[in-house]
């Protein structure tokens, strides 16, 4: 279990907590952050399984039907998706810059960066809607329509829509974190909530990096 501990975690501040039986015990902030991070990574592991399965389904389809995938790629608006990719990369950067600000006890800086992050996440979802609209007009549907793109839709929409749902959750979570920050709940000694949210948001970015390459470029 010693390997499970987070190296260099904060331990400057001790917080008091009580268990279900009413017995008080002391748990330092470093221990709390370590627990939160471990739990978050375990959650992310389950997400990896889901996303990896969805991507695998697409990859196997691409192996067997490269002609259909090539047709969609030829028709698709790659510029729009590339812009979306940059939006998400930028939002990830804004996230870590916000974390950096709170590590310097600059709450205003955190709010500014997180505001940018949430905005970019929201625009990403909006552009994804535009992209879906274009694809549906092309004839790429969730279920087979008897056209040249049959079989592609479900395998494409499932991973990208599932990812989009994660972005929406991330934006809402980001707004929640901003609200907490506005109330003064975070400082350079206590930012576990921000770090945990950061793990989630960066994971969403990592998933998009892989989706972008596997679904749109290859």
């Amino acid at each position: 279990m010693s390997e499970m501990s987070i190296e260099k975690a904060h331990s400057a501040e001790a917080v008091h907590a009580h268990d279900d039986h009413g017995h008080g015990h002391v748990q330092d902030a470093g221990g709390r952050m370590a627990n939160l991070k471990t739990a978050t990574w375990m959650y992310l592991a389950s997400e990896v399984v889901i996303f990896a399965t969805l991507i695998a389904v697409f990859v196997v389809f691409r192996f067997h039907h490269p002609d259909i995938v090539a047709k969609v790629h030829h028709e698709a608006n790659i510029l729009l998706v590339t812009i979306n990719t940059f939006l998400l990369l930028t939002s990830s950067w804004a996230m870590v810059m916000g974390l950096r600000e709170i590590q310097r006890d600059n709450r205003e800086g955190l709010l500014r960066w997180f505001g940018l992050m949430c905005l970019l996440g929201a625009v990403f979802v909006g552009l994804q809607y535009v992209e879906y609209n274009e694809l549906s007009h092309m004839g790429v549907a969730l279920f087979n329509q008897g056209n040249e793109f049959d079989g592609f839709g479900m395998r494409f929409y499932a991973p990208t829509a599932f990812h989009g749902a994660h972005v929406i959750v991330g934006v809402l979570w980001g707004l929640f974190v901003m609200n907490n920050a506005r109330k003064g709940n975070y400082s350079s000694k206590n930012y576990a909530g921000i770090e945990v949210f950061g793990l989630y948001w960066h994971f969403v970015d990592v998933v998009w990096i892989i989706l972008f390459t596997m679904l749109y470029l290859i």
Partner: protein, 121 residues
Amino acid sequence: MSEITHIAESQHDDHAHGDSFTFLGRTFPVPLYTGVFGLLGILTLIEVTISQVIPRGELPGYVDLVGLIMIVIAVCKASLVVWFYMHLNKDSRIFMIALLVPTILVIVCVLFLSIVPPGSY
């Protein structure tokens, strides 16, 4: 990545990053996070350019060199985010298992399924 070192100017703790970083002996006057962001942007542009410029489907069967290069670039980009933004360079490496084990399992499954003829599963 290990050659990247931080120059701490106003650090509050081990997680804080300075206003510049050194890579391969050169000092860049931006935070490390910004440097990583720049690198991610450049790799994305390279990836998109390759996909649009180099003609595809000329190699026989499943051997697709261009596709392979783009996958390598994507893995590099994902690793940069995990290593620096998700702080795996500072946290316990055991967390890497959470990402690697399911990924390896899926790769094995894909390789197996790719050799099964369509309609046989």
